[in-house]
Amino acid sequence: MHILVVEDDTVAAEFLMKGLSELGHVVDHAADGLTGLDRALDTRPDALIVDCMLPELDGLTMVRQLRAKEIDTPVLFLSALREVDHRVRGLEAGGDDYVVKPYAFAEVRARLDALVRRQASKVTASTLQLADLELDRLKRTVARAGKPIELQPREFRMLEFLLENAGQVVTRTMLLEKVWGYHFEPKTRVIDVHMSRLRAKIDRGFPEPLLHTIRGAGYSLRTSSPAR
């Protein structure tokens, strides 16, 4: 995947580029908003990571101009500003998601994956499947190896989100956002407790565990053979 990082802090940019290249992405870098806009228009990357505060042209304006040219490449905003309404402004400018600095690389990676995946599969399948685990969105049923599993509505939504991002890492913040719709940093424990309950329902009694805790990052629903 070709990713353009628009970030004026060279250390932060190098860190991102190193991490992303190690994941096998082709990473390009621009240090200011104008260069970023040009590069994005020239090279048409698959995704953009844009710092909100940039020299020449700020990130929000840059993305707004990009969107005005009807380019809907997924954009992940980075911002050192933790203002309460800043996320909303980023999303209004045409960003798809928002990460506050300082961030864990895992957070950026997980959100980027989710964005690109969402972009790639806009059609939502009515059933989601991983190995022998099946989720039917219409009937709102879950079954593993043919055995039905009873889930609470929130658990269902959690599993749905994990399945939508199967093979990818989802962070605790993302879970709180997507499952409950709250935008704040959850205390680690809270999401973990919910996850351990979900794990008890879908993995207990089955030989192959599907829900994995990724240390320092979050959770991943995947078959045991490591994805990456």
Binding site: V84, A104, F184, G216
Partner: protein
């Protein structure tokens, strides 16, 4: 921070608005006064003068008519009769070349210039009882009846002159008094307000020099300067609060961030030393990241509180408190369950809508639930309730049966970083409650910590949404 303060402008009394206003006021008073007095003058003295002239004219008309009808002899008799014993009317009739025929009670023709109609103002002498001559003012008209025959009819106007003199005197006195009093009053007012303005000025200068405890006396009179003093005091309270906050934050950062930073640094150093043992190194790096995360959390919390207290309001929307509580309890219930705590929720059937920031409110409730779970012992219970108060506010109550907070410490725990000594070993930044307090303040609400005997009860009162966005309330079952 305080640069070179501009030199205190020397107050010229003339430049102050109080004095300028006083002068303007004086001028107005002078103009109105003059106009009034002029009117009174015209109405009184002027009327008397005209009256005098009229009577002189009438008498002259009568005498000249008599002359035309009956000749100079009759006229001479008439004048002689009228002059006799008279004190206020003056007559003089003379025939050219016949001085013996001259008659009247005036000794000689006035030498003062006459106007074209023959009017003349002059002085004449009147013998007083003591034999002295008294000079009196008179006004007369001189008419030539035929060549060589001239008649003067006049009036003694000494009385009128005296009235006029009195009038002018009163006029001057009154004017003088108005001016003197006006000036004195103006100067007094100017001095008073100057004193107060100067007091405000010097208080502001003391603030510039760093004394933030400066306050101005408020007299409670509600005038402009009093209100200015009130505004100044409110402003100073706010500034003092902000500066104290800033100082506290700086102190706290020094105290509470230095320790984890030190641990982070030592951890990384240890990782370097453990270069030969990759498992140990991995472990040390993981711990370092955890320390860094904790630091970031604390830092973010601090920034968030600082931002909430900066006075800039984020976008508010109607938030259903009951729903918010239901959702957050749902998130936290499994956690409480794991700690063997029971959570009881009491919500009213009707929506309890307040106008606020959903995320901030959610985060506050999350912090409170987190605290309640953290400080309760297994087997305990947590009670959460939301209700609409009769006054239209929404009240949120969370109560636990944990150790509670001693009354003396209740105010202090709302400050940043305060963690009671008994809870030092529990994880957390010590910012949870201060964030809640800041959010409640942002929403113009009230927060109180109460004794749940045993345990802690936190009561938060948030103003209800404005009536138009609030559904009609019915008494709940």
């Amino acid at each position: 921070m305080a640069g070179a303060a501009p030199p205190l402008a020397r107050f010229s009394v003339l430049r102050t608005s109080a004095v300028q206003l006083t002068l303007l006021y004086l001028v107005l008073v002078a103009i109105t006064g003059s106009a009034l007095l002029t009117l009174v003058h015209t109405m009184s003295v002027g009327l008397l003068n005209r009256e005098t002239d009229d009577s002189i004219q009438r008498e002259l008309q009568f005498l000249s008519a008599q002359f035309r009808r009956s000749g100079p002899r009759t006229l001479r008799h008439l004048v002689e009769d009228r002059s006799y014993g008279q004190t206020t009317s003056l007559y003089l009739l003379s025939f050219a070349g016949q001085p013996a025929l001259t008659t009247g009670n005036l000794d000689s023709w006035p030498t003062d210039p006459t106007d074209p109609q023959g009017w003349v103002n002059f002085n004449y002498s009147l013998p007083e009882r003591g034999g002295l001559l008294e000079t009196r003012a008179a006004r007369a008209q001189i008419v030539r009846l035929r060549p060589g025959l001239q008649i003067l009819v006049g009036r003694d106007i000494q009385g009128l002159r005296m009235i006029e003199g009195r009038f002018t005197e009163s006029f001057l006195w009154a004017g003088g008094i108005v001016l003197v009093l006006g000036f004195a009053g103006g100067a007094l007012i100017a001095r008073q307000s100057l004193l107060r303005v100067n007091r405000i000025n010097s208080a502001a200068r003391n603030v510039l020099e760093g004394d933030l405890t400066q306050r101005l006396p408020e007299r409670g009179s509600g005038d402009e300067l009093d209100r200015l003093a009130g505004t100044f005091n409110t402003m100073m309270e706010r500034i003092e609060g902000l500066v104290k906050n800033l100082r506290d934050v700086t102190d706290n950062i020094a105290h509470d961030l230095r320790t984890p930073l030190h641990r982070l640094r030592s951890g990384l150093e240890a990782a370097l030393l453990d270069a030969h043992d990759s498992a140990k190194q991995q472990d040390a790096l993981d711990r370092a990241i955890a320390e860094a995360d904790q630091l970031i959390e604390t830092f973010n919390g601090l920034l968030e509180i600082a931002q909430l207290e900066s006075g800039v309001k984020p976008k508010f929307e109607p938030v259903d408190m009951a729903r918010l509580v239901r959702e957050l309890v749902e998130i936290y219930e499994p956690v409480a369950d794991d700690s063997e705590l029971a959570v009881f929720v009491h919500l009213e059937e009707i929506p309890c809508v307040c106008f606020g920031h959903r995320t901030l409110l959610a985060q506050s409730l999350a912090n409170l639930l987190d605290n309640a779970i953290k400080y309760s012992s297994p087997g305990g219970s947590i009670r959460v309730a939301v209700r609409a108060t009769p006054g239209g506010d929404n009240e949120f109550i969370i109560a636990d049966d944990g150790p509670g907070i001693p009354e003396s410490e209740r105010q202090r725990v709302l400050d940043r970083f305060v963690r009671l000594s008994s809870s030092r070993d529990l994880p957390g930044s010590g910012l949870g409650l201060s964030l809640v307090a800041a959010v409640v303040r942002l929403h113009d609400g009230a927060l109180s910590l109460e004794d749940n005997s045993p345990g802690l009860r936190i009561r938060i009162r948030l103003p209800g949404a404005r009536p138009e966005s609030q559904p009609a309330r019915q008494p709940s079952a």
